[in-house]
């Protein structure tokens, strides 16, 4: 296995050649925020929050593989301000009411909102009219909260390897659909996996939403990324 040296914000780092930049940075205790990326499933590079500058040019760290001598800027004002904007845009684009959400405290979007001390988004609230699909036997899909990261599409498949989730429409009408046939008799484990994979509260396993009370959840206790950073 070949190891390479690379630089993030002036700090010399080392990792295996070809490793996903997000992961390689993590190994060196550097946190690059992500939303659509999820360990173990193919990256998509759609939320753009992990954007870094490589030799001055923007690239998403989740879709970039490290190479020898790569010179990366990440925690610079331009990018931190961009990342805050992405979080704010997501809040303004959908309908996110944290206090009533089953995922509060385990939500990556909410946690990033805290990390970037978001107050009032500087983007117009769109208040879109969106559905809540409660008729799937095992899952509840709340389109109001969906940030369209595509994790579920990429990561969740039934026993035949078929997808349960797929995109519908495009642009600002984009949504994630659930296949009524494939989703009918999924296992409890798969339903749980889908809920855990969802960064927000858009996929909820029925009857299990509040197993751990709000206030005692992951990001209630520690800010996002703090386990990575030194």
């Amino acid at each position: 296995m070949a190891f390479v040296k690379f630089i993030v914000d002036g700090k010399e780092c080392m990792s295996e050649e070809g490793k996903q930049l997000v992961e390689a940075a993590k190994e060196n205790n550097i946190y690059i925020p992500t939303l659509c990326n999820y360990p173990g499933i193919p990256p998509k590079g759609s939320c753009r929050i992990c954007t870094v500058l490589i030799s001055g040019r923007p690239a998403t760290a989740c879709t970039t593989k490290v190479t020898e001598g790569m010179d990366i800027q990440s925690a610079v004002p331009e990018l931190e301000s961009f990342r805050k904007s992405v979080v704010e845009i997501l809040f303004a684009e959908g309908n996110h009411f944290c206090p009533s959400c089953e995922k509060s405290g385990n939500c990556e979007l909410q946690a990033l909102g805290y990390k970037y001390t978001m107050m009032v988004p500087d983007f117009p609230y769109m208040f879109p009219k969106r559905e809540v699909e409660a008729w799937h036997p095992k899952l509840l899909k709340d389109h109001n909260r969906c940030i369209l990261c595509k994790r579920c599409i990429r990561g969740i498949h039934n026993n035949d390897g078929k997808t349960l989730f797929a995109y519908g429409k495009r642009g600002d009408k984009l949504l994630i659909n659930i296949d009524p046939e494939t989703s009918k008799d999924i296992s409890d484990e798969l339903a749980q996996q889908a809920m855990d994979m969802c960064p927000v509260g858009a996929i909820i396993r029925k009857e299990k939403g509040f197993a751990v009370p709000i206030g005692r959840r992951k990001y209630d206790k520690m800010p996002i990324g703090s386990d990575v950073e030194e």
Partner: protein, 598 residues
């Protein structure tokens, strides 16, 4: 019905990567894609139903509901708006008995609007059942609708006066006009005979490396907008691992105001196909695919017959030109109505039967493209140019144009001028030269390179069209002084990008819609200076989108804020930052009032 569906699926061997063709053919025969049809497709291809649906719902022209025996798609582009399109809309609605977005109660006529259909020099135009109707007037609309009510065929509705040149070809019979106003030395020089470049390769015993070498020496750059050196692209694809390799000709032509590829394909289709073949020879590709926008469906029979002619003449197929081992076949892939599919990786996704979502790069298509094989994507005009370079030599080519921009550019010119149409000119002409050539007077602004380009004012009309100055994929929309630039142009473009974003990237998906909202606020006179500043502050955010669409989607707004700031200032004049002028108390409390009343 079932038989039709299954026959079509069999036609494509039940191959899920041919889903686009399956959907297009079924819809063309049955009018729409019902739940039942989608289920059948899913079962036959052994993919989940939502997989089929995600492709269906991505494209503008696919529909799950019937859209009428006659389906009208009226162009809603900026230029259409210059020709009293409101009256056309009203007449359509009155005569058909339904509003736009709907089908008449008897199911006879459906009225829909659509983004630029590539007819900006003959607006207002509409597509009706895959055929194009141009220069619509209220009277023409009345006659059309009366004809529909009489049950006339689409051929009868078209009448018998066809356009010039090959538009009148018996296989096309289109009423579309070419409007070639100026022929240049490269594309429309009129001295091309099919097979010229292939014969040259044979007589001069050129290897594929020699071809790439000449293309590099000609320094020809891509005509699709990005201006990438063609020779370099071919060389990388040639060296890339993987078989078979593919050549795509990009004829998606979705940039509003652009229609040059339509005219090239109409008049010089063999030049285009020979260009693909030469690229195939140079790169070592076995197959070529012409990705043609759905709006140009009316050309299908004509182009298919041209391909057959070329096969018959041994200009395509196996052992081309008697050269053993040189095999190349071309097929046509239609799109489904999505501007983003002009982006090369989205185009490839679409040709694979999927949603037209741009891929993340690297890897680039030249390494992993169509079906993960090395793929070259070139614009129609680029491929034509190469044929001429091979035939006449790079020395000849290098005498045309400027030092950094060699050759000619085919321009699509539309808007407020006397002679809109096609102009092939050497690079290096100024905007002023062009305005003079086209008989444009009282010009307020020129939109260079379509909405993704820039909107310039008179102080920049001295600039020249060239890669080193004003680079353009080839469209110029001339905007007269009588136009309301913000309302008639910028707002229309903002809506275009909102509609056409694929939705994958957060900034592109959300800010296209949000910027349109702010723009509406500005146009209605209810915005403040901080709204303008806000739009400007979104520029660096959009630059981080994945593809060119998102990266340029704010250009109509940003370039007009830069070049026509006074128009914005007038709109916000006197509006205080302390109160929100757009706030409407009555509307905000309407729900409450209604509840209290009850």
């Amino acid at each position: 019905m079932g038989e039709t569906v299954h026959a079509i699926i069999r036609n494509y061997n039940g191959d899920p990567t041919r889903l686009m063709d399956i959907l297009i053919d079924i819809q063309s025969q049955l009018g729409y894609l019902s739940e039942w049809t989608i289920e059948q497709i899913a079962k036959s291809l052994d993919i989940p139903k939502i997989d089929v649906e995600q492709t269906v719902s991505f494209y503008h022209f696919f529909t799950k509901e019937p859209r009428g025996k006659y389906t009208v798609y009226l162009n809603n582009s900026v230029v259409t708006g210059f020709y009293k399109v409101d009256e056309i809309v009203k007449t359509f609605e009155k005569e058909a008995g339904c509003s736009f977005g709907r089908v008449s109660p008897d199911g006879l006529i459906g009225l829909f609007s659509t983004a630029c259909i590539g007819m900006s020099d003959q607006e207002p135009a509409a597509i009706i059942n895959e055929q194009v109707f141009t220069r619509l007037t209220p009277d023409k609309v009345k006659t059309l609708i009366a004809g529909m009510k009489d049950g006339k065929t689409i051929e009868q509705l078209k009448g018998s006066s066809y356009g010039d040149g090959q538009n009148a070809n018996p296989l096309m019979k289109a009423t579309v006009k070419n409007h070639i106003r100026k022929k240049g030395e490269v594309i429309f020089s009129g001295d091309y005979t099919a097979g010229d470049a292939l014969r040259k390769i044979k007589s001069a015993k050129m290897s594929s490396n020699d071809v790439i070498d000449i293309v590099k020496k000609s320094s020809v750059r891509g005509r699709g907008g990005a201006g990438f050196p063609t020779g370099m692209k071919w060389e990388v694809a040639r060296k890339a691992q993987g078989e078979p390799k593919y050549i795509f000709c990009n004829a998606d032509e979705g940039e509003p105001g652009t229609f040059k590829d339509r005219v090239i394909l109409t008049e010089e289709p063999k030049l285009v196909f020979e260009g693909m073949t030469i690229a195939g020879y140079a790169v070592g590709a076995r197959y070529g695919i012409l990705y043609l926008r759905n709006e140009y469906m009316y050309m299908k029979k004509y182009l298919v017959s041209i391909l057959q002619d070329m096969e018959r003449d041994n200009l395509l197929g196996t052992a081309i030109g008697g050269k053993n081992g040189f095999n190349f076949d071309i097929r046509i892939q239609f799109g489904g109505g999505a501007y983003v599919c002009g982006e090369e990786s989205a185009l490839i996704e679409s040709a694979e039967g999927k949603r037209g979502e741009p891929r993340d790069r690297p890897p680039f298509p030249v390494e992993k493209g169509y079906l993960q094989k090395p793929t070259v994507v070139n614009n129609v005009e680029t491929l034509c140019t190469v044929v001429k370079i091979i035939t006449k030599g790079h020395e000849w080519y290098n005498t045309i144009g400027t030092r950094e921009s060699r050759g000619t550019k085919v321009l699509s010119i539309s808007g407020d001028c006397e002679e809109p149409g096609i102009y092939e000119i050497p690079w290096g002409f100024s905007v002023n030269d062009i305005l003079k050539m086209t008989g444009a007077r009282d010009v307020q602004a020129v939109q260079v390179g379509g909405p993704s380009g820039s909107c310039i004012a008179a102080n920049e009309f001295g600039r020249t069209l060239a890669y080193e100055d004003l680079a353009t994929g080839g469209s110029l929309i001339i905007i007269g002084k009588n136009r309301d630039l913000l309302k008639d142009v910028v707002l229309n473009f903002a809506e275009f990008f909102r509609e056409e974003s694929c939705g994958s990237c957060v900034p592109c998906r959300a800010l296209t819609g949000m910027s349109k909202l702010v723009m509406e606020k500005i146009v209605s006179g209810k915005a403040t200076v901080s709204d303008i500043d806000r739009l400007v502050s979104w520029a660096p955010i959009m630059k981080k989108n994945r593809c060119g669409l998102g990266q340029t989607a704010l250009n109509p707004i940003l370039t007009t804020i830069k070049n026509f700031r006074h128009l914005y200032d007038e709109k916000v004049k006197g509006n205080s930052e302390i109160i929100n002028p757009a706030f409407n108390l009555a509307a905000a409390t309407a729900d409450y009032e209604a509840a209290v009343k009850n």
